[in-house]
């Protein structure tokens, strides 16, 4: 931006209004959260809502504190985070690799097309009992559940990204004498990078579904376990506290991917 240039009043007003609006939006976001929490707290304090069933912000904080003090919180968070992140990484890497294979061989893609479609429509939770029999009850099963939930979406998203590359660019590469590997590495992969980032964003959500669902099925520890356990013994404080922790973790993971996006996309295509 040119700084020594003198802007018109109208422009300054425009810039100022923009800034004001941005500030207003952020302030309102916090206000909505604060209002929600206060209302919840007040209503349960005066007895308008049953804090045994609905819990309350202060009781949630107390529950989290307790979990920290007993040292169990980090174990539960660590377990779920491990399952989610490992499942996320395996599914993303494997899914992208399969999509590359499908790009490389059109016949391979056509042969496996119906299988991918069926697996995509299948509710993966139906495989729960089989997974438990195969992998036992524990982390392995949950990671596997996370992988199968995330994998198919990754394959489909990345395959579509690869196939969306313009014919003209491929023709151009061929006319330059490029071989298939060069077309893949210099054209198809960089072309699909923005799709890869949005795929990561989808996968964050999918991986959390996988790990929590896996823990609902079979687990002795983790955030999903705490929620199920809390529900069974009617400790709604524990359920609510775990849900809040889950929100923070999932939000944090999404923010990391968004940060990665910001770091990797400069001023290139908009």
């Amino acid at each position: 931006m040119k700084t020594n240039e003198k802007y018109s009043k109208e422009h300054l007003l425009y810039v100022n209004n923009r800034r004001k609006n941005k500030f207003f939006i952020i302030a309102m976001r916090f206000l909505v959260l604060a209002a929600f929490i206060s209302l919840w707290e007040i209503l349960s304090a005066v007895g308008a809502i049953d804090s045994f069933l609905m819990s309350s912000p202060s009781r949630i904080i107390k529950t989290v504190k307790n979990l920290v003090v007993t040292g169990n919180l980090w174990m539960h968070v660590g377990t779920t985070l491990y399952e989610t992140v490992v499942g996320f990484l395996i599914a993303t890497a494997l899914g992208t690799a399969i999509a590359v294979a499908f790009w490389w061989s059109e016949n391979l893609r056509k042969i496996f097309e119906p299988y991918v479609i069926v697996l995509n429509s299948l509710p993966k939770i139906a495989l729960g009992p089989i997974i438990i029999v195969w992998f036992g009850s524990g982390t392995k099963s949950i990671v596997f559940m996370t992988v199968i939930i995330t994998l198919i979406v990754t394959i489909i998203t990345m395959q579509n990204a690869f196939l969306s590359c313009g014919k003209g660019k491929i023709m151009l590469m061929k006319s330059m004498g490029a071989n298939k590997f060069q077309i893949l590495s210099k054209l198809i992969l960089p072309h699909s990078f923005p799709s890869f980032i949005s795929c990561l964003k989808i996968n964050v959500g999918m991986a959390w579904i996988g790990s929590i669902m896996g823990e609902y099925l079979t687990s002795k520890q983790g955030i999903g376990y705490l929620i199920v356990y809390g529900g069974q013994v009617f400790k709604l404080d524990l359920v609510m506290a775990s849900t809040v922790i889950l929100c923070v973790l999932a939000g944090g993971m999404y923010a990391l991917v968004a940060l990665l996006e910001k770091k990797t996309t400069r001023k290139r295509e908009r």
Binding site: K169, M171, S175, M176, G177, K267
Partner: protein, 255 residues
Amino acid sequence: MNEILELDRISLTYHTPSGEIPAIGSISFSVENGEFIAIIGPSGCGKTSILSIVAGLLKPSGGEVRINGKKVVKPDGSIGYMLQKDELFPWLTIEQNVRLPLEIKGLKGTEYSEKVRSLLKKYGLWEFRGSYPSELSGGMRQRAALIRTLSSSPDLLLLDEPFSALDFQTRISVCDDVYEIIKKEKKTAVLVTHDITEAISVADRIVVLTKRPSKILNIHDIDTDKTLSPLKRRENKDFSAWFERLWRELNYENK
């Protein structure tokens, strides 16, 4: 005779599940070094396919193409291909885009960097070398696309309606621009176009094709002053005579 490109009885049949379509009947012509050839013909006559065959991207059903006496079997990067759209890679800077053909061929030395730099400087893209294509105007992008095809020093340039995606105003000036660069670099060029005026304003010879299955209807020597720029040629008094003649050939004699 110093023939750089020879098309020897090229024919092409398209195959679709519902049948086969003879697209190119039999086409033979040759291009001399330094010539600018334009190919015009009714739409669907396989003009673009001819370029693809010359580039080695498409196998002809019959006949063969020779570049410098050598039969073309597959694309080897010895020709420069310019398409309707600039097809610059949006994730690469202008300099990286221009360097692409060299990179594909694995040519890395300083002499090649020098070549890219001198081309960028010579043709006014030096200050944009670090910019991304989205930051350039349509005309500048098409110029960058041309410089990209020149970076690997091809003997022959194939231009497939390279100006048709631009608006009329830009088109005329980019055409001038591209013509001047091609002449300066002493390249041989084959241009495919559906725009008769464009063909007359740049070509030394114009190949007129019949409709499908295409054959050569006529090859015209355009006898205007070759030192004039395409824009100046448009003002020449022969221009409208040529236009009328080619228009007639395409529209009436082609029936």
